[in-house]
Point group: C2
Chain length 421, copies 2
């Protein structure tokens, strides 16, 4: 069928349709509770306002998502810039040349997945270039007790291909855990491995398995930061070696759940983030032999609202003479997760800042320090994406990389925006 119409009338109709459609498209959509992560890059402006509304200039940056991950947990950079990424359900993924390989790396043992537990952290041995050793933590299902697992440090050899070979467990807790517990690792400047193992919350702790009070129990590995040789054994110079009742692997006590363990690139100190129950997230510097107070002292409340440590009435005040104070605490919690000290040149104004992730807080948070090394400001970022941020790392390229704790999970790359973009 043919149409015979004046061009002018057709053009008017077309323009009218376009305007109506553009208006419909550009109309502010109702703000849905959960915006899905966009497929493509998105530019943000980190400028903000401080006390009394004073303007604080900040760089623009671009967030570039790489989708296709499921509850990614941690990442490690290979010497060539490729990335190994753990998925909590038990898969080890690899990003080669910026592309996520659809095939996981084979060789990870079966893991018990749930409540933080699963395949957790990953780190390369300092001499990876020679020995090809990749270390990872996971929750090993108990053969005898269902839903219980031991927190385990393992190692395998990775030659750049598709398989982790010669995989062996190096260290395993001799007691089990049934509730939320996370295991993070970091190689210290001393070449030892520091491993933080968390304690669960009471409703999920089955009899005979780890409870919150394990964190104060020198006979338990839970709620501790351990210090191990690279073969999983306890170094002879650990702080409690030879002390009766103390596990020799223990380096520090009183940890709830460490969500990041980071060796500060300038000082070599061991920085740790910790989730409080309800309020009480902490940033701690972990020192040999110290007690970080959980569940005796906390800046948080239990989920029931009481000033308790999940276990019942405790000291009301968040301090005690023999226990360490955090460098920083958060109330309410943002559920602190990964942490990176930014030392790169791609964002000059961010140099020296510490970036942490927030899970419940669905954010990247920049902690600003002054010349004297004191924290003076904390800037929430990326809240518009409404993504639970699990991991924060600085890449060898000086960019920031994040992982989202989502079923439709992603690696987010943070890069600068050129002036005029």
């Amino acid at each position: 069928m043919m149409l015979r119409m004046p061009i002018k009338r057709i053009w008017t109709a077309i323009v009218g349709l376009m305007l109506a459609t553009a208006a419909a498209g550009a109309q502010q959509p109702p703000l849905a509770a959960r915006d899905t992560l966009p497929d493509g890059p998105r530019v943000f402006d980190s400028s903000r306002r401080g006390p009394s509304g004073s303007p604080i200039q900040g760089p623009k940056f671009r967030v570039v998502p790489l989708k296709g991950l499921a509850y990614p947990y941690a990442l490690a950079f290979l010497p060539n810039g490729d990335m190994l990424i753990t998925e909590r359900a038990g898969s080890l993924r690899i990003v080669r040349n910026g592309v996520l390989d659809s095939e996981p790396i084979a060789g990870i043992p079966p893991v018990q997945n749930g409540n933080l537990r699963g395949l957790n952290d990953i780190a390369l041995h300092p001499n990876f270039a020679q020995n090809k050793w990749v270390y990872f933590t996971y929750y090993k299902p108990s053969p005898s007790q269902p839903e219980a697992a031991s927190a385990t440090l393992a190692r395998g050899r990775f030659d750049g291909g598709h398989t982790l070979t010669d995989v062996r467990d190096l260290f395993k807790t001799d007691t089990l855990v049934t509730g939320p517990s996370a295991a993070r690792i970091a190689f210290g400047r001393d070449g030892q491995i520091y491993m933080a193992i968390g304690v669960p919350i009471p409703p999920r702790a089955r009899p005979g398995t780890a409870t919150p009070s394990d964190a104060q129990d020198p006979g338990s590995h839970f709620g501790k930061v351990l210090r191990l040789n690279d073969d999983g054994s306890a170094p002879a110079d650990n702080p409690f070696v030879g002390r009766p009742g103390y596990k020799p692997e223990i380096f520090a006590l009183g940890i709830r759940n460490a969500m990041a363990l980071t060796v500060h690139p300038e000082t070599g100190e061991l920085w740790e983030t910790e989730n409080g129950p309800q309020g009480g997230d902490e940033l701690n510097i972990i020192r040999a032999g110290r007690n970080y107070g959980w569940p005796v002292i906390s800046y948080g409340r239990s989920y029931s609202g009481d000033l308790t440590g999940d276990t019942g009435p405790i000291q009301e005040l968040p301090s005690a003479p023999s226990m360490e104070q955090p460098l920083l605490f958060w109330s309410p919690s943002i559920a602190l997760s990964g942490m990176a000290v930014y030392t790169g040149d791609r964002f000059p104004t961010w140099k020296g800042s510490v970036f942490v992730g927030g899970l419940v807080g669905e954010q990247l948070q920049r902690i600003v320090f002054n010349q004297r090394g004191l924290p003076i400001r904390r800037d929430p970022m990326l809240t518009e994406l409404k993504q639970r941020i699990r991991e924060v790392r600085q890449g060898p390229d000086g960019l920031l990389y994040l992982l989202t704790d989502e079923a439709a999970g992603a690696l987010l790359r943070i890069e600068p925006v050129t002036e005029g973009e």
Copy 2:
């Protein structure tokens, strides 16, 4: 000129144009640092996720802005539903039948405007229906010392017209302040007026004027909550009447800057929000004769990053035997501002929650309490608007009303959204 074309080809072209236009219109704009408040209503979904990503359902609500205010500070509802709104620079505005009158209400004395000071709070006398008394606080410029002011409580008569008549000062601090200080008032169930007067931060405190340590000085009205008769005199039953060295008006000590004073509608207790320096915002219940600790104890750090109270080294720990602990504290600060206990029926699931505003935090925050009256969650809302929220009130209509601390300020009405909208 006539066009002869197959209808199908024309239709394909039109649809193609529409799709392209819709895509261009709906494209995510770059997120600018400061989105201006939209002119019209906007719908939000308060659903969110809690620990481990568990979904928390919440109502949708609509924010309706009423623009045309400049740094609005506080509001009071008249019996007919109209609203009196103070603007910090010294104007008293009125909203009649939902419309902002472009003419201010005459009769407010000259104020010293800057750093929180200016025309501050406003409240109707409990017997306003008979006596027409409107009470307000303001910073009265010192005739002798430039940039210094006394915190003042005044009263006038408002007959519903355009003028506040018979205006008189009822109470005035006998010392002056040159830095940030806020004065908030509330009528208690006992019919007395509670007035909180804040202390400044050191760089702005001129010699001979109030300093942070005034808060601990019983001879100063600054850094205190006062309790006054409705004529500005000190009630005979005040906690420190007759005690040497104590101003008889003092009800409680150790306040930094009270951003809200609210009588809890169920318990009659005096609830107060307070800004910490850097971290350390507090929600306190103010009781007779108690000391709230500023600047001796705090959950915050000074702006220089030290664990101090703006005045130099103090106790590192946020507690002391003779000083009160807050009901809740915030770190980092959101710069807590106004507060309302929600008791209305328009949002049934919000009943019993406390809503607070955040200035630096650019948010409305809902504090959720459990059956036992313990705070169990704090939900940030409205962050997408990027507005400094100064005041939060519940209207006689059961809706929530906010004021934004902006040059282009607004009254925001929060109302429910009908299902299907």
